[in-house]
Symmetry: C2
């Protein structure tokens, strides 16, 4: 049980004086002997963890250690899209884009629907520019383009050459190697350890841990003088945990996340009295297919086709949502229906909007061969294959075609584009995907302050404990903007290192 | 730090064997000597607390104790509307109403927007009938009518004669007296105390506590053999706590709650590793006036006038929301505007719909004298007083009148009723209220199971710790139905007593 200052003083002055207290047997345990001692310990090898470790080294902290329970480093970050939000960069200036920290800040708050913590959004906004140059000049990330992501006021998503989070993670790992920072995988942090004053001073780990085998690995105790950073991601893969916050998210729902996103460290911190916030804002991706695993290829097909292709509930042969609506609107609508829906587009739309633009021809071919995307000559064939009433489907399709031509959708307010091409019977072939949402991002997590310190249930910092990235809540509020999470992870991870470096006291 | 079974066994078998562990100085403290010992300890004197204490006594648990930090018992319950949801009662049968536990269950789930915990909703639905008879026959609550509350499929809200929660609380307190259950006010529970096995075995209290004076009162340690029930309400009055979950809810927002709704016991339980869920679903009442305190009289005026009177933003002279929308829709819209709005109705509507129906003539008179409701002869006077552009107001008012006559609102979809009466210039007088939402109900709180046991961060019960009512989350999900909270409090409070009575082990 973590005490706040008042109750600690109260215990010391009043209670202890009045009644001698016997220590409970069930307490945070300090090992009599530590197996290792480091200066700064980071849990997690994604953007947040590596950002924190590298910044700590650059600030002169010796003996930084990074741990990860999985066999390979990179967590969810390495399978991320590979772009970071930044405001006011040289790339923006060259492209004639006017941007500022204030504009980024107001975009984050607007998307957050009132739930974003202003002081955290401010940290991201104020540091995004410096963070971009740090990544480029100090880490060696190679940026190739700045583009517009939905919800941002201007083009400020800076894509790396690799079009993948690996374009950030690999140079970060290379820097760790260069700086002599050990990145130890297969190392599960089973307990956070507090000293008598409530400061987190180390961890109990299992070295040689095999993911999914709780008792695997050898127990070691690692002391950290300047604290511990939780940068271990979210809990999208922990069905019990996510169902406690949102009971809809049963095991029936897959996740786009890597399997290690199980929220253990959030729970560990809760056992020290840490506060969690906004845990039920769990973002579903509406663009995943039940015909493949993980993030998959379907999202690459679906996203450029919104506004060109109707989404249909096979049971009713009706549309049910604004196809150009945001992720939450679409995912909630599919979940409410309770079974997968279909989306279909004619070949010309697919070739114009998708192939060689958002999917490589190889990806498209692979998705077709794997039956994630299916090809049909006629709408009648689609109806037959997906068990949709053909007459009803034709009626709904005719209506949708009329809306496309008029560029106006009185039913759901879908937006159509100038080159929208109706799906007309006889003008096939058509391509179809089935859609069923997957758990994609946990908006909520540990409450932190603008120094990346983890806060307890009374909102006081837990000494020696920091957190950054998807393990935390409040930065984005209800809805995060694309590529701001990458900025969040790296900036807050680096902030944790700065706070630790600035702290006089060490354990 | 509470350990789960696995980590406890791990510590006992593996870690302890390998490395001798020194107990930390910062631990839950057991007093060397308890000042008092009881069999069952209940914190809170509202529906949940008194329900739990009375049930415990009826199940044969001797020496039950009820504590409250406030000077008077009853918490928020005593200022509640005084009706409880129950399905299948004799009153319903007499009125020809068909109802069932299953129908109540599905109503709760529908209102909860997917966030209600099914196993908790099931407990409420399955016990509502027995609970109604228990209240009537064992406690002496006098029911007078069954009515329809918004969101329920049938009339199942059973109102007591007093039209107030006091109609439940006073007979419950009388029963406590009859049974010899002490109800001790001015007693603040400052710490929950766990024994070496992690079981909650007692509390540290301050006797003679004065609310708002943290160090007041004399420290005592009270042991409880069969556990502790947290029935201490929500956190609507704790600005820091509610802002951590919903940053919009600054000190600028008042609350309809009694001042003691400060969430202390939720926080105490978090320090034992308890999980909290859905904490950011904090319900605002959209019908409160900035011209009075607390719940006030304005809601009694506003609710029967939706569908008869427009709500206007004085800054734009425009409507901004569906007046017949639910609490959340309306409150969010006013908060987004950022300043109080006005609602006005002509005298005939007010006399037809409000006075002697939802407000007594005395209440109406008092609200007018206190300038909570203001009377104006003309719409021009309203515009002048509230600094609204008169021409713009007349244009918007004419449009609204047209909608009323057509019984259709293309702008916001407000519902109108057959006897709606337009507000026309020259056909005054008019009555006006200003509206600014107040924090009304915390949907979220401690995670419990269907035995009312408090769950830790890994969803395992914390031995000896129970919770019921507004201190808990998950029963209602995103939106609670009126009068179901009363059933929830009493049924879950009683459930906690049943679980404790059935437990073999005691401390």
């Amino acid at each position: 049980m973590a005490m706040n200052r008042r109750s600690f003083l109260g215990a010391a002055s009043a209670a202890l004086a009045l009644t001698p207290l016997a220590a409970s047997a069930k307490t945070p345990k300090m090992p009599a002997k530590w197996d290792r001692t480091v200066d700064f310990l980071v849990i997690g090898t994604g953007f947040a963890g590596l950002g924190s470790a590298l910044e700590a080294h650059m600030l002169g902290i010796k003996n930084v250690l990074v741990l990860d329970k999985m066999p390979f480093p990179g967590g969810n970050s390495v399978i991320n899209g590979g772009a970071v939000a930044a405001a006011g960069t040289d790339m923006q200036q060259k492209a004639g884009i006017k941007d500022s920290a204030d504009l980024l800040y107001s975009d984050i708050l607007r998307a957050g629907g009132g739930l974003a913590h202003k002081e955290l959004a401010r940290v991201i906004a104020d540091n995004s520019l410096e963070n971009y140059y740090w990544l480029r000049d100090k880490i060696g990330v190679k940026f190739k383009a700045v583009y517009l992501h939905g919800g941002h006021s201007v083009k400020r998503s800076h894509a790396c050459q690799e079009n993948s989070g690996a374009g950030f993670i690999l140079p970060m790992l290379a820097k760790c190697k260069e700086f002599g920072i050990p990145v130890e995988t297969k190392t599960y942090v089973e307990e956070l350890i507090q000293n008598g004053a409530g400061r987190v001073v180390g961890v109990k780990v299992r070295k040689g841990y095999r993911f999914g085998k709780p008792d695997s690995g050898k127990v070691q105790y690692i002391r950290s003088k300047k604290g511990v950073v939780i940068a271990a991601g979210g809990f999208a893969q922990n069905v019990t945990m996510r169902m406690s916050h949102d009971p809809r998210l049963t095991a029936e729902f897959g996740s786009t996340n890597h399997p290690g996103a199980t929220g253990d460290l959030i729970q560990q911190a809760q056992f020290l009295g840490a506060n969690t916030i906004q845990m039920d804002w769990i973002q579903l991706g509406p663009w995943t297919s039940p015909d493949e695993q993980g993030f998959g290829l379907a999202p690459l097909f679906v996203e450029p086709l919104v506004g060109y292709a109707p989404m249909i509930d096979p049971a009713t042969a009706k549309r049910f949502v604004k196809e150009t609506g945001n992720r939450k609107v679409r995912a909630d609508a599919i979940v409410a229906i309770g079974h997968p829906v279909i989306m279909f587009a004619n070949e010309k739309s697919v070739m114009n909007q998708v192939v060689s633009k958002n999917m490589t021809p190889e990806q498209f071919k692979h998705a077709c061969e794997a039956n994630v995307i299916r090809k049909f000559s006629t709408l009648r064939d689609i109806a037959a294959f997906y068990n949709v009433d053909y007459q009803a489907l034709m009626a709904e399709n005719d209506k949708f075609n009329g809306f496309m031509k008029a560029k106006k959708d009185p039913d759901y307010g879908c937006m159509f584009f100038d080159d929208s091409l109706p799906n007309e019977e006889g003008k096939g072939p058509f391509y179809v995907v089935r859609l069923w949402p997957r758990v994609h991002h946990c908006m909520g997590g540990l409450e932190i302050n603008n120094k990346a310190q983890v806060l307890d249930a009374r909102h006081n910092p837990i000494a020696g404990l920091y957190a950054a990235g998807e393990s935390t809540g409040g930065v984005h509020g209800a809805v995060r903007l694309g590529t701001v999470a990458v900025a969040d992870c790296i900036i807050m991870g680096r902030t944790a290192a700065r706070t630790a470096a600035a702290e006089r006291q060490s354990a």
